[in-house]
Point group: C2
Amino acid sequence: MDIDAKELFSALSHDIRLRCIILLLSHDELCVCEVTYAIGVAQPKISLSLGQLRKIGLVKDRREGLWIHYHINPDLPLWVKELLYKLHQGVKNAAPYINDETVVAAMPNRPGAPRCA
Amino acid sequence: MDIDAKELFSALSHDIRLRCIILLLSHDELCVCEVTYAIGVAQPKISLSLGQLRKIGLVKDRREGLWIHYHINPDLPLWVKELLYKLHQGVKNAAPYINDETVVAAMPNRPGAPRCA
DNA sequence: TGATTATATTCAAAAAAATATATATTCAAT
DNA sequence: ATTGAATATATATTTTTTTGAATATAATCA
């Protein structure tokens, strides 16, 4: 697994994509409906964002029936994982990220139980 | 000192700006002519890139006679410094960054002695 | 003062990216 | 098969960013 630094940063330089990544960084995985609910924008926009993140290898998806679950690609180079960890650590308690977290935690009828911390 | 994550990543999602930052991460400071020499593109392009990095607070400059020396802003939030450190660690030995380093190290008539490691 | 060196800014054109809307796909259940 | 639910893709339009060339500024020195 290889990733280009410029592509990585292009991916992160977009509000919605950034919020998706921050959300995924605190969950083992989330399905599209959960991300959509958390961020509160139209579904095609979330799908597009997640698709772009997937295209450059930052995240992977897993289908389970109707749902598609996304997660951070575990095969990313170590430095990228560490960089993402620093990012998460740095912004997770600020708006809008912390709010996204609160919203998804309160989502009714989630496809699976909440997975991570 | 505060910095917006999206702005940070926008700044880094550009070849020249990224090469500037990587260069500055391994030197206490570099003047515009050194960065220009290292990267090998037209001077106005380097000035513009450094100016953009300065505008969002990622770097600062210091005038010394005709030269303007740039350095990473020491007042960045810790998480940003750590993130940049991970980035540097991750890419410094890859092209084109390692080559930029070699080129600047061999530059004749540098304004000051090489400063860092 | 005038020339020179180092750096910065401006501006129009080109390229790239984002947006919104509409539509398509995929799967499951009836 | 038809329906409905979850997700994905396509397209046209708008907005933002990048580029290159020309020009401007700022400091030094003769």
